[in-house]
Amino acid sequence: MESKPRMLTILDGITILLFLTAVGMVFFYAPLEAVMGQVQRVFYFHVANAWVGMLGFMVAAIAGIAYLRKGDRKWDIVGLSAIEISFVFFFTAIVSGSIWARGSWGTWWTWDPRLTTAAICELVYAAYFLLRQGIDDPDRRARFGAVYALLSFISVPLTFISIRIFRTIHPVIIGSGGSGAEGSFDMSPRMLQTFIFSLITFSIIFADLLWHRIRLGKLAEEAENLRLKTLQ
């Protein structure tokens, strides 16, 4: 476990390359938006971050089910890693979204479904960490973590739907421009390309970070086992 697998080093390289390309596309390739101006460029990475957040949540829920069925602790590490990464990326998405909102239509916060649901996800994650913190037995901690990850993964889409029925001012991003929702904008082909490239890049970033975080998790588990053994 000590030495870093070659695949990971290669993935690191690919990730960095993709990331730099994406940044280049955002700042130089994508055109300037006609109404919002420069701040619209934030949108590409803002959505990519939210996308990673959702990915992480999904991975955690699946890892949770896997742990409950197999009992192999490595699934618990996968779940915890996915949620930690998702937490960081959702946070970035929320703050960048807030800055974009401020720059585009003047308010720091919009109670629209996507932003609100992301904020609720953060609270769910906080609850997840608090739950784990309150349990000493590693097996129970993994089990309860898995259950909670699963329950919340089911509840969050329902939350999103209910808020959406409740209200919406988040922009409609793809296709029809001027479709009633405040702040919507048309995406030209170059914008679309940059957008999709950002999503792909961030998905790879997620995979790369997940791998690293899982390795960290395995180290932590080994350390905890040794600690329990030697400090009896």
């Binding site: 300037l32 938006e33 006609a34 109404v35 919002m36 101006g37 420069q38 701040v39 619209q40 460029r41 934030v42 990475f45 803002h46 971050n49 990464i85 960081v88 946070f91 970035t92 703050v95 960048s96 800055i99 974009w100 401020r102 720059g103 585009s104 970070l209 690293h212 975080r213 390795r215 960290l216 180290l219 932590a220 080994e222 350390a223 040794l226 600690r227 053994k229 030697t230």
Partner: protein, 57 residues
């Protein structure tokens, strides 16, 4: 192109762009740094713990 000239020029929002990307790059960097630091600490701890374990045997 001509349309943009006829209508208003886009809003001057560069500072929000800067703020937004500072946040994005900043948080990502901080997280990666935290991963590096935690890994290093754990490796150090493991070395110590393994020594302790050997001594006990």
């Amino acid at each position: 192109m001509i349309n943009t000239l006829l209508l208003q020029a886009p809003a001057e929002t560069t500072r929000y762009l800067v703020a937004g990307y500072t946040v994005i790059f900043g948080i990502m960097s901080l997280y990666i740094i935290s991963l590096v630091v935690r890994t290093r600490n754990l490796k150090r701890q493991l070395v110590m713990l393994r020594e302790l374990d050997q001594e006990r045997k």
